[in-house]
């Protein structure tokens, strides 16, 4: 899961040669004692280039139209904080929609996938493996290929242009990934824990509530992050199914916001920045789980 652990974090769990780890640096790839200025400078340059567009966004978001025209290259006072107020007023409804969609989806996905994963992992019943196979196979179906028929179906259900047209596909799609992750995780919980609880007289709901749920918080966290990421980045589906401007989620809303602001770049970039904040903040604190989520959503990764 955590493809981002450093070698040193990993080394901590290998008790075999702890002394060797401490005395010789793990990466003795270059003559020891040599300063690594060359590498550091090259990497700093690469970092600067890859972050430049986002720094540009921060830079421009504080400028007025005149400042943008005349003092493009230098920071210029006063910083136009009002750009943020202007942008926020316009994108707040989009953010709200995305937050609502993400919240409802997360609750739905976690509930469905926890119960389904638990039942499929811990109970033996006819069709168990078939059910699981039918769920897991869906990971290989690209959502873009059923977009057109799903659109027509939602139209027949008269769900177009409602918040449900966004929530339902997220919940169902997320429940697929979530169930697979949950099942794999619950399979890893030793059966003896459940057996011990049963001997103590725990019922099935009790097993679920008191053993399964507390143990699976990390998986639920991953599922939640996958969901937030996919809601924030979902583009074509809301573009096609939502026509009411107030209902637009942030991904599509931002496109319209950008079109409306014409050449008023300050507020425009302030809006981009504000709409990035939730993901960037989550990433800063939870980058390990965030990346696990990105990798967990790959086709064929289970």
């Amino acid at each position: 899961m955590a493809g981002v652990q450093t070698t040193d974090e990993r080394a901590g769990v290998v008790p075999a040669r702890p002394l060797a780890r401490e005395t010789t640096p793990r990466r003795a790839r270059f003559a020891p004692g040599r300063r690594q200025w060359g590498i550091t400078i090259t990497l700093s340059a690469i970092v600067a280039v890859s972050l430049a567009p986002y720094l540009l966004m921060v830079f421009v978001s504080g400028k007025s139209r005149q400042q943008y025209e005349h003092t493009f290259w230098q920071p210029d006072w006063p910083i136009q904080w009002s750009n943020y107020a202007v942008a926020w007023k316009q994108i707040a409804p989009y953010m709200l929609t995305s937050v609502v969609v993400a919240t409802v989806s997360i609750v739905g996905i976690v509930a469905i996938s926890a119960v389904t994963g638990f039942v499929i992992s811990r109970y033996r019943f006819v069709g168990r493996n078939l059910f699981f196979a039918l769920i897991a196979v869906l990971l290989m179906i690209p959502s873009i290929s059923s977009l057109v028929p799903l659109f027509v179906m939602m139209r027949d259900f008269q769900l177009l242009n409602t918040i449900w047209v966004m929530i339902v596909p997220h919940v169902v799609g997320g429940a697929v990934i979530g169930t697979v992750l949950m099942r794999t995780f619950v399979d890893g919980i030793p059966q003896t824990i459940f057996d011990a609880a049963r001997i103590d007289g725990a019922s099935a709901p009790r097993l679920f509530r008191s053993i399964m749920i507390p143990l699976s918080y990390p998986v639920m966290g991953s599922v939640a992050l996958i969901t937030i990421n996919s809601v924030w980045n979902d583009f074509f589906w809301p573009l096609l199914t939502i026509s009411d401007n107030r209902l637009r989620p942030i991904s599509v809303g931002l496109l319209f916001f950008s079109g409306q602001n014409g050449t008023d770049y300050g507020p425009m970039f302030a809006g981009y920045l504000l709409s990035s904040l939730p993901l960037v903040v989550l990433f800063s604190f939870l980058s390990k789980y965030f990346l696990a989520g990105i990798q967990g959503g790959l086709p064929g990764s289970h």
Binding site: G3, T6, M140, L147, N233, S251, L255, S287
Partner: protein, 316 residues
């Protein structure tokens, strides 16, 4: 929910059978509704899409059966196949661009300080945290013909002659699209290169160093061969991801100018939502689906083969 615990594998067959007889239907109360929902919202649309590709599908009225007519039309649809040419260019460029993440990964794992490694790795993947739409919008601003940063840099550097309408000129638009995200570090290739490189046992390098193997030779003879299986997996994943490519092109160029940046996903959506030709759109999406599924299957098998290596990388 009066559910029995599952028969443990340690229980013998007779016990299991006797438990079976007393089994309650509890699990089905959970699984059946979930399967029904998944059936309605995932299986039905996918199957329906295949089914409808044989009709002149009109969701609001008559939909006569037309057999393989849609498929015949697709075969001679030059715009559709041209969009695959663009996709091919996008894929080849994408793979070629891995050299930069590979270099970055080599540099990061070469750092001796654990803190420096952590800081650089985090900063390099930080762009992944920004929403894709924001990245696409910033880049389309960079390419803006009048106010864009790229042309401004060129003009201020006295190279005003080079300033162009990057996304509006058919000769340049695809190149402009490809360059979005430069230097392409924030993505799966870097993460995979980084984790496979940092998992190569240091003993190998020590041995190589003793044998007098230099930096460049070590890269070709040790690093690359040890990463081969991950690179193969990455290739298949890149094919699957490329087939889904669309939204950046939609935001930055809308497939234009003059179809210069048309890709299959945009063609498909155009047929349905602009052309109103739902049956033909279903045909296109079925074709995309079949191609993607084929590669997904390859990914799955490649993944199984490399799962040992990958799980040691912590990628599973």
């Amino acid at each position: 929910m009066a559910i029995e615990m599952p028969a443990d594998s340690s229980r013998n067959e007779t016990q299991r059978r006797s438990r079976k007889r007393r089994r309650s239907y509890g699990p089905y109360l959970v699984v059946v509704p979930v399967m029904l929902t998944i059936g309605v919202f995932q299986y039905y649309p996918a199957v329906n899409g295949i089914f409808r590709s044989f009709f002149a599908w009109n969701p609001a009225g008559d939909s006569p059966f037309v057999g393989v007519q849609n498929y015949a039309r697709m075969m001679s649809d030059s715009a559709w196949w041209l969009s695959f040419r663009n996709l091919g260019i996008i894929f080849v460029f994408g793979v070629a661009s891995w050299s930069i993440p590979l270099l970055a990964a080599e540099l990061v794992v070469s750092l001796r300080s654990a803190r420096a490694r952590f800081v650089f790795r985090t900063l390099l993947i930080l762009p992944m945290a920004f929403p894709g739409v924001v990245t696409a919008l910033i880049w389309s601003f960079i390419y803006h013909p009048n106010d864009g940063v790229l042309n401004r840099i060129l003009r201020d550097a006295g190279l005003g002659k080079l300033a162009s309408n990057w996304t509006g000129d058919p000769a340049l638009a695809l190149g402009a699209l490809l360059f979005i995200g430069f230097p392409f570090i924030a993505g799966l290739p870097f993460l995979i290169f980084h984790s496979s490189l940092s998992n190569i046992p240091p003993e190998i390098f020590e041995a190589a160093q003793l044998d007098g193997v230099g930096r460049i030779r070590r890269f070709w003879t040790i690093d690359l061969p040890l990463m081969a299986s991950q690179v193969r997996l990455l290739l298949f994943l890149a094919v699957v991801a490329t087939l889904q490519y669309g939204f950046v092109a939609y935001i930055v160029t809308k497939g234009g100018p003059d179809n210069a940046t048309a890709v299959p996903v945009l063609q498909m959506l155009n047929e349905a939502f602009q052309g109103g030709d739902w049956g033909y759109a279903a045909t296109l999406s079925t074709t995309l689906f079949v191609i993607t599924l084929a590669f997904s299957l390859i990914v799955m098998f490649a993944r199984k083969k490399t799962s040992r290596a990958a799980s040691e990388d912590g990628l599973m």
